[in-house]
């Protein structure tokens, strides 16, 4: 017997003819997918441009070929060392200090940057007017002040500004500095640039002041290798001089990691949108396949082999998916112009407006592949339709898809595609496995909820209910129901949105809680010992709670159990972070530990004689980094004096507390005569009172810095709000995709419902009754889906709070109420609009 070969021409013709009347459906099925692909295309294209920009603008990230920094003013020995290094150099001193605007009396903690030459070497300081970017260097009486600070206090160019003991004139507005991100550069204090020659007149830098000293180098002939060799060559000397070096390449790597995290997060959003789109496609194609059962049966009856009949619909869906991919790619290319604008506050480099054909191509391929994997599952059912069903469908025995090896293969392919997709985005197999597992778990749970809901709907139906409620609830479990599809799409959408909202609110609460709960909110730093009585007296005269006055003594770690820190650093068997060994330790001394010092090991001990080792208390994490415990010995250098100590207790410190927290606490009787300054922790009742105190104190003692918690919370809130905008932007794709999934599902399934509706009308049902039936169904589905999504979101947010952010989880009520309500209302609205 001769088989007719698969006729491709006829197949395509047939697919085209048969698609008449269904083309809008098919395209609508792909609308959600198009949104997902748009997100993917936009982000991948943006990601490539970001990589290019970082590569091309590496030098502007640091502004120099390399920089040397120290926590101390450069000594003559350091100056001699720096003079011998290759390249031109510029010195910079950075520290935080209060500045005051005499015209208004306002004060603000600011980030002071004093330069002795034009820096950055690569990139620029952008200012308004542009010449103000360098005017402060030629005229030491002028300063450049961050625009946001000027806007905050209504300061104009030419206004006076008091920095320490010196009054300057505002030369211009600082708009941005190459290599710095606007959102975080002025986190604690806005930037203020002045000339190095004017710095001594401010009288702000004293012994022990919190400042950093830089020497930036331009070495045009250098390569990354020669700079690495330079570091290698001088490593020992720099360690001895307590200098640290940073190169442009290192800054690039650091930034690359940070931006990679942002990029991966955003990609996760795109991935979610694409997966939701895939589910939408699958749901819609399932309904489409159901509609086409009769056609396939007839074609089979007329002699079309199963494979050929299936290929007709595979061709249709493939073409539709291709169209959806192309539309999505077009949208994505358009959208990618917007992403640099959305992320502007987080980007330290300028992104150009090119689009990357390779990124678009890869995204399209991924999107198309994933959509075909999703649609193959429902389409496969068309292969199983026997020709007999054209004659009598009830004679055809039901098939169990789960037992069909083809379904198992497609399912495996789908999970593999999901894993491959996740791997491409997270670039780590373990993360990809986690993401794939999490998605499968959420799908499985939502599917289980859908099944439970169907069983419940069947069980709970009661005769006494109104006709509309009985019909509406029955629609949840009847054949052709939308329970599974809606539970998945709405549940997943709610899950994502609620997780994002709950996590954001929880993070923000950590910073706002102290201000709300009677905790300290104004900390005065750099208070000199002789200033303490006077400042305390001034504070006592105002409506201020004086919480604690803490002495601070700075010192360096020199040895652990007799082993020098340099040797510890070079020991290949140890992996102690550089900062642990070489940081400037700000310590305090006390008679007794405070109530909030939580001892986890040992007990607080005072020295019994001056000859023995000094008993100290160290922080738990520090003990972990140094791999030390009770009885181990630490040696500190305090202005050349070696302090030999022994660990007698280990404390747990909550670094989120807005107080003075310490890695190392000494007992009283040891450090009293050492050079020190004080931190005074207070609580002020209002923001206005805090501002008044700052004005009064700063007017008398310009060297004192005030950390106003309210202002810091405002800064955090501002950054989180900007980050939240980015998060919402990505979540928008999920919501939009979810709504499109909902729309396409309802639109495609309305053909099933239309027949029922017509029958109901024939049997005498009024329009209002039909509306009530539909409302009952969608309200229940919307509520259950969103509640399931919310429950999963609570688990995910709790898990993130505990394991990722390590903070207590207190769910915010507003998103828990608003998001499910809004999604349920949207479901009802879309359902009503499309079934009218």
């Amino acid at each position: 017997m001769k088989h007719a070969p698969m006729q491709r021409g006829w197949l395509v013709r047939m697919a085209w003819r048969d698609s008449r009347g269904s083309r809008t459906h098919l395209l609508l099925s792909m609308a959600a997918l198009a949104v997902g692909i748009a997100a993917l295309v936009a982000l991948r294209s943006f990601g490539e441009r970001l990589d290019d920009a970082i590569d091309q603008q590496t030098l502007t990230l640091l502004g120099a070929d390399y920089s040397i920094r120290s926590l101390h003013p450069f000594s003559p020995a350091v100056e001699a060392f720096l003079e011998a290094l290759p390249g031109d150099s510029v010195r910079e001193t950075r520290f935080y200090s209060m500045i005051q605007f005499p015209r208004t009396g306002d004060t603000r903690l600011s980030h002071i940057r004093a330069l002795d030459g034009s820096y950055p070497f690569y990139g620029e300081i952008r200012a308004d007017p542009p010449e103000a970017a360098h005017l402060f260097l030629s005229d030491p009486q002028r300063v450049l002040i961050e625009e946001t600070l000027m806007l905050q206090f209504g300061v104009e160019i030419g206004d006076p500004v008091q920095i320490g003991q010196q009054t300057f004139t505002v030369a211009g507005r600082l708009l941005n500095v190459s290599g710095e991100t606007p959102a975080t550069a002025s986190f604690i204090g806005p930037r203020v640039y002045l000339s190095m020659t004017a710095l001594p007149q401010t009288e702000l830098l004293r012994e022990g002041s919190l400042a950093r000293f830089f020497a930036h180098f331009r070495w045009p002939d250098a390569s990354a290798r020669s700079i690495a060799e330079l570091r290698q060559q001088h490593q020992t000397q720099m360690a001895e001089l307590r200098l640290e070096m940073e190169t442009a390449e290192e800054r690039k790597a650091l930034l690359g990691n940070a931006l990679d995290n942002v990029y991966h997060y955003l990609n996760l959003g795109a991935m979610v949108a694409l997966l939701l789109g895939g589910i939408g496609c699958a749901a819609s194609i399932q309904l489409y396949a159901r509609k086409k059962r009769n056609c396939v049966a007839v074609l089979r009856c007329l002699g079309t082999p199963a494979r050929q009949a299936f290929s007709i619909y595979l061709t249709q869906v493939g073409v539709a998916a291709l169209m959806g991919t192309l539309i999505g790619a077009g949208l994505g290319v358009a959208l990618q112009w917007a992403i640099p604008w959305i992320l502007a506050d987080f980007l330290p480099v300028d992104i150009d407006s090119r689009w990357s054909p390779a990124a678009v191509g890869v995204s399209m391929l991924m999107g198309f592949g994933l959509s075909m994997a999703f649609t193959l599952l429902p389409l496969l059912s068309l292969r199983d339709i026997p020709p007999l069903s054209a004659v009598r469908d009830d004679l055809v025995p039901a098939r169990h898809a789960a037992r069909d090896p083809r379904y198992v293969v497609v399912l495996f392919f789908l999970v593999a595609a999901l894993f491959g997709f996740a791997t491409m985005h997270t670039e780590r197999a373990t993360h990809a496995l986690l993401v794939t597992g999490a998605f499968m778990l959420v799908f499985a749970l939502l599917t289980a909820v859908a099944r439970a809901l169907m069983a419940l709907a069947r069980w709970m139906l009661r005769r006494g209910w109104s006709f509309a409620w009985r019909q509406g609830i029955a629609n949840i479990h009847r054949p052709h129901n939308q329970t599974n599809v809606l539970l998945l799409s709405l549940g997943l959408g709610t899950f994502l949105l609620c997780t994002l909202a709950l996590t954001q609110q929880n993070l923000l609460r950590q910073f706002t809680a102290p201000a709300d709960e009677g905790q300290p909110n104004l900390i005065l730093f750099d208070v000199q010992p002789e200033q303490v009585p006077s400042v305390t007296e001034q504070l006592a005269g105002k409506n201020v709670d004086l919480v604690e006055t803490t002495p601070i003594v700075t010192m360096r770690l020199t040895a652990v159990n007799g082993v020098r820190v340099g040797a510890l650093r070079d020991d290949p068997n140890r992996d102690i972070p550089h900062w642990v060994l070489f940081r400037e330790y700000r310590t305090t001394y006390r008679d007794e530990l405070l109530d909030r010092d939580r001892l986890v090991q040992g007990r607080w001990k005072s020295p019994s004689s001056l000859t023995e080792l000094i008993p100290i208390s160290i922080e738990e994490a520090l003990a972990g980094y140094l791999s030390i415990g009770l009885g181990d010995r630490l040696t500190f250098d305090l202005q050349g004096v070696q302090l030999h100590t022994v660990v007698r207790s280990i404390r747990r410190v909550d670094w989120r507390e807005m107080r003075t927290n310490f890695f190392v606490i000494f007992p009283a009787g040891v450090l009293e005569d050492a050079p020190q300054y004080f931190a005074i922790v207070t609580r002020t009742p209002t923001a206005a009172e805090a501002a008044r105190i700052q004005q009064t104190i700063i007017a008398t003692y310009p060297n004192i810095s005030a950390f106003d918690l309210r202002m810091i919370v405002e800064s955090i809130d501002e950054i989180l709000s900007k980050a939240a905008f980015v998060i919402r932007f990505m979540a928008m794709f999920s919501v939009l995709t979810g709504l499109l999934v909902l729309g396409s599902t309802v639109a495609t399934s309305r053909y099933d419902r239309l027949e029922e509706t017509r029958l109901m009308r024939v049997l005498g049902a009024r329009r209002a009754q039909l509306n009530r039936i539909m409302s009952a169904e969608y309200v229940v589905l919307g509520l259950i889906a969103t509640l399931a999504g919310l429950s999963l979101a609570l688990i995910a947010s709790w898990s993130m709070a505990h394991h990722l952010f390590q903070m207590p989880f207190r769910p915010a009520l507003a998103p828990m109420l608003l998001i499910p309500a809004a999604i349920t209302a949207a479901t009802l609205l879309v359902g009503r609009l499309l079934t009218r």
């Binding site: 698609s19 056609c295 007329l302 025995p397």
Partner: protein
Amino acid sequence: MLKLENIQKTFPSGSRTITVLSDIDLLIRARSTVAIIGPSGSGKTTLLGLCAGLDRPTAGRVLFNDIDLGPLTEDQLADIRRDQTGFVFQTFRLLPSLTAKENVMIPAELKGDPQAAARADELLDQVGLSERRTHYPRQLSGGEQQRVALARAFINQPKIIFADEPTGNLDDETGQHILDLLFGLNRDQGTTLMVVTHDHALTERVQSIVTLKSGRIVATRATGHR
């Protein structure tokens, strides 16, 4: 032409097995016209499905032109349906997205016949629908749809036509017209006809009538028609 030997057909129904047909022996000669009649649920449509190779018997053999359909693959059965059989359904079963002509062309196109379009035009002309060839099924009346279905059934000049209640959805006058066409085409092309029906007007025009009851053949009689 078609020979059924000791056919039995059962269906699982939950934990039970329902016997729909048993002890069926039937011989249908080439160019003959046969009507299968019987009460609802007697197994008429199941028998038609087995004869047409749409389904497989639980026991027994179906021989089509001396070929045992039992061992054939699904694709081989599809080839037989395409090349040697034609179908007419009670509910017409036209593909809604295809025009009348495109519906008629399907079996010929499946066969790779380059004359498919010309043959479809010719047949549509024969059934009196040459003016409606570009119309979609929803734009045609029930009678017109069934005429399109007749044209489709005959386009490959099949050896046998299987018809399942071809007048069941039509009024008497239209039904009569359809039967005229069916028997006319059948006669012109020398085709065998096997038809499941309740329609007395139809049974009066066939050469033999097979009566089924509870899944068994209870009577076979010749009507004397030629």
